[in-house]
């Protein structure tokens, strides 16, 4: 037996490929052992070359240490009666049992075409059946230390740590190790509170433990969340999570929606296959918490389409009422238009339903008709009331003959306000889908556009996009990009009637929540540019939140919201949510391999580009500051005319 991750820990981090490769060749016999080992070592030398003498040595050592023990792993399992658990539990839905499970088991090719949905629509809410158990360590909650801020749930990329408030009486049937404590805030006085981890869905990324602000005063290394080996906790926490899920969700209409309140809302995007520590998924998760029960998503191709809708399982899920996001993926080049089409369809269906309500007024009753047609759906309460009216409407239409009634019954749900989201990465929004994005912004329709900005084509392996900043090394920009990041925010602001927000949840989570609410409530196009830390930046993602703070503090990623509604009130359209740059942008850049790499290959150029980026930061800030004062932004550009030129 080989504990590859333990062997790899000494210097090679999580990378176990050398060790696993050696095991494979030692056991499989596809090559004579000596030859295989010689080839592996040759490959190691080729990979790390002359700059990696120490790495070569460590990898050689790993190979040599793996060898003597790996042959013994052929011995028979000690527990002859042990059986692998079923791929999915028996209570999973029929489709998951018969189709998804087959694919999870690697037997997808055996499925006949007839097993697939005939219209190509795949059921959502299926990642919950795929227990990957990939975390080596998971967070353990110390309820006495916890200050109940819910930040852990906010930053979790996989919705694998959650918060709930509930009636104390419900604890009667709680499992023995289930933890809870009195809820501290006044709004749910007398209720109990729990932070619960999903042990088999957590990826062990550490973000929750890093963001946790509650330290033990006697032993500050201990926080309200400590990462702890998963295996000994798995069984008990699985039961605890199950119990937690079965507890009722809080009443949406009674929650104050800020960072803390938003995390009591059920995430309708969970357990995706995104990287551990992903910087994109917390935004999507938050959007589904806020609007997921009436959300439609047009998703561009990219990371978000891969973790969002890849087979065999779907992370978008449904609440107890069966409501959840409807999701579809379009091509890279036309996703904005795809989303606009969805908007037009929604509007038309709603319009037609309203016409039918009027037409059938006599049957429905004046009060209900006017209630439906004049409903204020600007709040959770308003939406809840409209849903009740639609239920009443459907009850009155049930059994009524005639085409209009039957048609209205079909589309009555469109009378409830829907939330249309167009989601994609910077490769889509800045580059390949930009023409369409611009067109959709110009159309003035009520669409919400979320750009998960990693500043590089992440999914395809780190190619430069027009969002890639000065000085960053990426594929197709090996010498370090010399042109500045395209200011998509300013381009959208130029339209005047587009809501624009630049956000970074690790820097200011309250602004993130606010921006989502404002964007959604704005009856027109909204664009959210969301800073997303990414594996393609080349640093340990458990430090992602710290990096986001540095990004905002250095002016690299200034936070702001531009709201056309403010213009109508005679106020400047722009509100700055981060302070003037107070840290050198070089400090932010020095933490990431994408920037540091250039310093190693071409230090002179790295320095020249760093100076350019410093200039860029100062100029951009001056522009936004002028906008926030209601002054002419161009004056700021003119004031900074000493731009050094890149070669």
């Amino acid at each position: 037996m080989i504990d590859a991750s333990r062997s790899a820990k000494a210097g090679m981090g999580r990378r176990i490929n050398t060790i696993m490769q050696t095991c494979f060749f030692a056991i499989s016999g596809v090559l004579p052992r000596e030859e295989a080992i010689a080839q592996i070592k040759k490959a190691i030398e080729k990979t790390y070359g002359k700059k990696g003498a120490e790495l070569v040595r460590m990898n050689f050592e790993a190979v040599d240490q793996t060898l003597p023990t790996s042959t013994r792993s052929r011995s028979r399992p000690r527990r002859p009666h042990a059986r692998a658990p079923p791929v999915v539990p028996a209570k999973a839905p029929d489709f998951v049992q018969h189709v998804t499970a087959m694919m999870l088991a690697g037997k997808g090719d055996v499925l006949p075409v007839s097993a697939f949905p005939i219209d190509g629509t795949w059921p959502t809410a299926t990642t919950q059946w795929e227990k990957r158990n990939i975390a080596i360590e998971i967070p353990v909650w110390d309820e006495k230390l916890c200050i109940q801020c819910n930040k852990c749930a906010m930053v979790c990329p996989h919705a694998a740590i959650r918060a709930k408030v509930y009636e104390p009486a419900l604890l009667a049937t709680a499992p023995a190790t289930y933890k809870s404590i009195d809820y501290r805030a006044p709004e749910f006085k007398g209720m109990k509170y729990t932070i619960q981890v999903a042990p088999e869905d957590c990826t062990g990324c550490n973000l929750c433990a890093v963001v946790c602000p509650a330290k033990d005063k006697g032993n500050p290394r201990h926080k309200a969340l400590d990462m702890t080996p998963q295996v000994p906790l798995r069984e008990a926490e699985r039961e605890n999570f199950k119990f937690f899920l079965d507890l009722p969700e809080p009443d949406r209409t009674k929650l104050k929606i800020d960072v803390k309140g938003s995390q009591f809302l059920q995430p309708l995007f969970e357990f995706s296959g995104a990287c551990a520590g992903c910087g994109e998924t917390p935004y999507i998760k938050l959007a589904t918490q806020l609007f997921g029960d009436r959300m439609l998503i047009a998703n561009a191709t990219g990371c978000s389409s891969i973790y969002g809708g890849n087979l065999p399982t779907t992370p978008y899920t449904v609440n107890r009422d069966g409501r959840g996001p409807a999701w579809a993926n379009s091509l890279f080049e036309d996703n904005a238009e795809f989303g606009l089409g969805m908007r037009l369809a929604l509007d038309k269906q709603g319009e037609h339903a309203a016409e039918l309500v009027k037409e059938l007024g006599g049957l429905i009753g004046d009060e209900l008709v006017s209630g439906i047609l004049t409903a204020d759906q600007g709040t959770e309460q308003g939406i809840a009331h409209q849903r009740e009216r639609v239920v009443a409407l459907k009850a009155r239409l049930a059994g009524v003959d005639g085409l209009p009634a039957r048609r209205l019954l079909d589309i009555a749900d469109y009378l409830v306000k829907k939330s249309l989201w167009i989601i994609g990465g910077d490769g889509w929004a800045y580059d390949i889908g930009y023409g369409g994005l611009d067109h959709v912004l110009a159309m003035g329709r009520n669409v919400n556009i979320l750009v998960l900005d990693t500043e590089v084509y992440s999914n395809t392996g780190g190619q430069a996009s027009k969002s890639t900043p000065i000085g960053a090394v990426a594929k197709f920009a090996m010498a370090g990009k010399s042109s500045g990041k395209k200011d998509l925010a300013m381009m959208a602001i130029a339209y005047g009637n587009v809501y624009v927000a630049k956000i970074a949840f690790g820097a200011k989570d309250a602004q993130t929540v606010k921006a989502f609410q404002e964007a959604e409530s704005y009856d027109g196009p909204s664009l959210i540019l969301a800073y997303s830390h990414c594996i393609a930046h080349g640093y340990d993602l458990s430090l992602g939140l710290e990096q986001q703070k540095l990004a905002a503090d250095s002016g690299y990623w200034p936070l702001f919201r531009w709201d056309p509604r403010r213009l109508a009130e005679g106020l400047p359209g722009l509100v700055l949510d981060s302070s003037a740059p107070k840290v050198d942008v070089g400090k932010f850049m020095a933490n990431e391999t994408r920037f540091r790499m250039l310093d190693k290959t071409n230090p002179e150029r790295a320095k020249m580009l760093l100076d350019l980026e410093r200039h860029e930061v100062a100029t951009r800030w001056a522009i936004y500051e002028n906008l926030a004062r209601g002054a002419d932004p161009i004056a700021a550009v003119a004031a900074a005319q000493t731009t050094p030129k890149a070669n």
Binding site: K51, M58, I306, M478, G538, T601
Partner: protein, 330 residues
């Protein structure tokens, strides 16, 4: 006035030189130090951690996610050729050698006997006139004895000495239970020079965030006394040449250091605070002071106040402690 001295076998016109610091990263600053009359240039340390971890970390961050998703093989480009910290250090060493006429002492910092020691040879090949080996070690393990710490220090010195033919100085911390014995053992092991002492950067505590925070406080003259005492103790017992490091800010500080036995006087904080010209001021101040006090040369003064020659050695010893404690009246 003849201020000439011999440090690590290098014949120098006077003992004042910049100590190890990041100042050498800027060639124009190095030139200014030459213009101010520095006797030699001491480069900052190339750290064992830099040598080992930078290599590991650079590859780690490029490779850690490679082959982890079906969509892409890698997420960062991998350049064919790149420089790590050590390469840049050696390149800077070459540049300094090309830009100034002064002897250059390269510095290596580590505390395990690992592959990093080969960089001593690379420093020699790049033109270093001597090496300052900085053994900055904090003995924090409860099961590690003082003997082990001392033996390892000596082993590392021997390993470096074996790797190079240029002189090697060793920069020590003051935390040895028998400094005199340690100095003698290092001398016996072939140290060409001893640098007293390393300054340990003491972290501070942020009581609000409950975090340990790094601090960097520049030295002042009050730190000199510790060095003077041990220079006085060690000088006269060792063949190795001696350098003082930490707390020299004025010409009188330098005079005291030489009187207790220093062959070289390293200045860092003073230059950081007042610029390279402080080297000239200290040298001129020394010259003037020696002339006023009618010394023939600096050599005449060297070691005059060490333990063997000073009128009352007890002042450096335990008796001083008793007298001061008892003499303090409240």
């Amino acid at each position: 006035m003849d201020l000439s001295t011999t440090y690590l076998g290098l014949k120098l016109p006077h003992p004042i030189m910049p100590g190890a610091s990041p100042m050498v990263d800027k060639i124009d600053l190095v030139k200014r130090m030459e213009d101010a009359g520095a006797a030699a240039i001491v480069m900052h340390s190339l750290f064992e951690e830099q040598l080992m971890r930078e290599e590991l970390a650079t590859y780690h961050h490029i490779d850690v996610h490679a082959d982890s998703f079906a969509e892409a093989m890698t997420y960062l480009p991998r350049p064919d050729e790149f420089n790590l910290g050590p390469d840049q250090y050696l390149e800077q060493l070459v540049r300094i050698k090309q830009s100034v006429e002064l002897p250059v002492i390269a510095s290596l910092n580590g505390f395990t006997s690992g592959g990093w020691i080969r960089y001593a040879k690379l420093m020699q090949d790049a033109g270093a006139n001597a090496i300052e080996l900085n053994v900055y070690y904090l003995a924090t393990k409860a099961d590690e004895t003082g003997d082990e710490v001392e033996q390892r220090t000596i082993d590392i010195l021997k390993a470096v000495k074996q790797a190079v033919s240029i002189p090697v100085a060793i920069k020590l911390s003051p935390f040895f239970s028998s400094m005199a014995n340690m100095a003698k053992r290092l001398d016996d092991a072939g140290a060409d020079g001893l640098v007293l002492f390393n300054r340990f950067y003491q972290p501070d505590i942020d009581v609000e965030s409950l975090e340990v925070e790094p601090t960097l406080r520049l030295s002042d003259s009050s730190e000199l006394n510790l060095r003077l005492r041990w220079l006085a103790v060690v000088s006269g017992h060792v063949r190795a040449s001696l350098a003082v490091s930490g707390g020299v800010h004025t010409h009188l500080d330098a005079v005291k250091a030489v009187m207790t036995g220093a062959h070289a006087v390293q200045v860092v904080s003073g230059i950081l605070q007042q610029g390279p010209d402080v080297i000239r001021r200290i040298r001129e101040g020394m010259t003037q002071w020696l002339e006023e006090h009618e010394y023939d040369s600096l050599e005449q003064m060297r070691g005059s106040m060490n333990l063997l020659r000073c009128p009352d050695a007890s002042m450096f010893e335990r008796a001083n402690y008793i007298r001061i404690l008892q003499g303090y009246k409240v």
